[in-house]
Symmetry: C2
Subunit: 305 residues, 2 copies
């Protein structure tokens, strides 16, 4: 129902066979991309999900490895025939950064819309809710939480008991209020309990923070940087404002997420698998990111209630 | 003695297994790069010749596929430990383009020097001579001819006959003039005939032009765009200011070059080999570019003279 693909697992610079970290989310015929380093369009091409329906691109921050692929990607999206606007979201300074990078692409066949962030922000985007959460890196940086919310179950028995004509049921199911025959009917009058939606969280680059721990709470999937595998590199992680595997795993545990994917490996970390157990000892459902690793997330099947 | 590597063979956009067209020239411990599209640093990494000694980067023009890899490459060169300046050469507007692209890399550990071109220009660069030649594309574009000139052979017999003391021979061999005992001795007094050096020519993107034909004359290697394989695509080539294989081969033939490499294949040209014979029928020593194809060029061995 909602498909997630980790497009690359590298940090700092693209390497042969290791693309830079970026996440693609596909839902209901549209696609949202988070981060776009050099080469992101190539791994996207390998994935084969197409370019034309990418309508939103979010940036965590403006270090080269998260943003230098933008101009090439926009040109390729243009070549795919897109003419509808693309919304770009990122920390303050976004429009200036994009103007710089696209200096060689003065004419794109679609409009670019900019949403600049300076604090925690929730942005409705169709059925999705994009939450940007400030984190702690060497420059302004945001984590993103993408939520597909689920409406409570409609209760026909309750609607019947209230004598609401069936012609109004659809509006109530859509969450709209109905006024009829002098009475007002709100959706909660004919709805069951709140239901869990789908929640995906993505954080790179950052130190662990309490705000991040809150933001990822109960996520189905938490994609998190693990620049360093070895706990002995923690002083480096602190200095460069990154995380070790165990710090990411601790966040996942405290945030009670379902599953953790580690990514954004340092170029010096040539064998991340050597350190996987450091993370699984803390949070067992940790997976090492791999190029174009995919997860399909669906609403949880409910018991008849 | 002078090593040439074609870093990629694609045009328009990088593809899985086809990097964008760029040329690396290595000579005497230093390296010169022509063009730098998205992903050039990755194919450079695959080549394994290192980043630190890249001291010159030439741009043919400012379409994305020739320039969007610059910021990432500069960051990676910085990470390699280089602190010496890098000279950038390209059509007018270079500094503005580079300022735009490097907006996300505000602090590099080396100085950038800019040489902007508006007409045919010869730029001495150590032992190399870089010639930039205007060609015909949809925007301002230059071909590059890199020459390693060879000094004429020193003739000890002539130096002896002129009674020049041996302690001055080295200066004369280096091409310097010597004054001694009231007489002036010039290198040509003790030198044989002019000798052929090494000449490499690179042209993309352009229509064939007479100026280009002159510029590549007698080159040891001519690396030329062949956006289209099929002669039937000539109207497209004319419209988009590119070349077909046969047009490039005709240039190579008229320019009397030793060898032609075709590159900058259209993304639609998935099997360039299907059209190789179109070129070899005109210029037999044509080769299809391949990723990281290398040629080592040496001065021609002379007969004892």
């Amino acid at each position: 129902m909602l498909d997630v693909c980790l497009l690359g697992t590298g940090g700092m610079m693209p390497l042969p066979n290791r693309w830079l970290t970026a996440l693609l989310i596909r839902y209901n015929g549209r696609k949202l991309l988070i981060d776009c380093g050099e080469g992101t369009q190539i791994t996207l091409k390998m994935l084969g999900w197409g370019f034309k329906t990418i309508d939103t691109i979010c940036f965590t921050h403006y270090h080269g490895d998260h943003v230098t692929g933008l101009a090439g990607l926009l040109l390729t999206i243009g070549n795919s025939g897109r003419t509808e606007p693309i919304t770009l979201i990122g920390p303050a300074g976004l429009e200036k950064v994009v103007q710089g990078l696209t200096i060689i692409a003065p004419e794109l066949p679609f409009e670019l819309k900019f949403i600049e962030l300076s604090e925690e922000t929730s942005i409705p985007s169709g059925d999705l809710l994009i939450k940007a959460v400030p984190v702690e890196h060497t420059i302004s940086c945001f984590a993103y939480v993408i939520e597909l919310q689920r409406r409570p179950k409609f209760k026909p028995d309750q609607a019947k008991a209230l004598n609401i004509p069936t012609r109004f049921w659809k509006e109530l199911q859509r969450g709209e209020t109905v006024e009829w025959n002098g009475s007002i009917y709100t959706p909660d009058m004919v709805s069951g309990d709140k239901r869990k939606g789908i929640k995906v969280a993505y954080c790179t680059d950052s130190r662990p923070t309490l705000g991040l721990m809150d933001a990822i709470y109960k996520a189905d999937l938490f994609v998190c940087e693990g620049m360093y595998g070895d706990d002995e590199d923690k002083p480096q992680a602190q200095k460069n404002k990154h995380m070790t595997f165990s710090e990411a795993a601790y966040l996942a545990k405290e945030g009670e997420v379902e599953e953790l994917w580690l990514t954004h490996f340092s170029p010096a970390l040539s064998e991340p698998e050597a350190y996987l157990s450091v993370a699984t000892d803390i949070f067992p459902n940790t997976k090492l990111g791999e190029e174009r690793m995919i997860k399909n997330l669906s609403f949880i099947q409910e018991k008849n209630a």
